[in-house]
Amino acid sequence: MKTLILERDLKLFIDDAIITVFDTMLAMELHPSDRGSHFKSNETQVIGMVGLAGGITAVVCLRVTNTFACRLTEAMMGTGPDASPSEGDINDVIGELTNISAGKLKSCFRNPGQTCSLSLPTIVRGHSIDMESMSGTERHSFTFHYGNETVVVEFYSLAKKEHFL
């Protein structure tokens, strides 16, 4: 049996997961936004991706600009703004934030007796990245703001009819 999720609950789960993770790990208070995402086409984006498999089959993506990713890395690693973080450190931080967010989401989708596993995080970086879902996959996008910075969380889930009421 697959987990059934109310569409409106997904937003509540994701808002709670992302706001909690950024508050806990970075002491940053994120605000959900209905304004949508507006990344400049010439700015590098960093995207963390973690898959869930079991009670639900889905991918959680966390997308930020490279500038904000550097700031997050400085905050998590405890380095000052003078020391430019390495690409490896940025990948580590974005991957871990995505992993912890997916872990918190996983607990929302869990049914007693059902297992649900997380994949190791993957990082993608580049300009003007468009992600497209395969046939039968449902895409949901949620935007958060921290000052002028934007965090976009995309949730791709398989078999909409089985997961969503």
């Binding site: 993770v21 790990m25 405890g78 872990g103 918190k104 607990s107 007693p112």
Partner: protein, 136 residues
Amino acid sequence: MKTPRILLVDDSKATRAIVAKMLNTCECEILEAANGALGLETARQSHPDLIILDMTMPVMNGVEALQALQADETLKSIPVIMLTANSNPEEMEQMKALGATDYITKTQKPRIILDRAIALIGLQAKPEAIVVAAST
């Protein structure tokens, strides 16, 4: 008195940095390893007083490392705190059954790790940390 030695095993350098920063407010020596296999090797060499062990890691994950620690007569008495991105009560019970002393999710405030470490091995705050705490 011997300085307590804590082994921190997590593949995320960022998480190790956050936990180490928190633990560094107390008198302790922190050792780090990036996966279960390296953690096991470090534990055998250094015999830490406490191990903080991430669940999901490449090469050897936290569960495999915990089982290897429990199978080693010289290491099985070392308290182990499991650290995980998942908040799952069934997994918590499973880890405790395998010999973990405690289980903390990464969405809990990092301060909780310090509180558990203080409770388990009696860490003492560094004098400068007490001064900062007193003045804030």
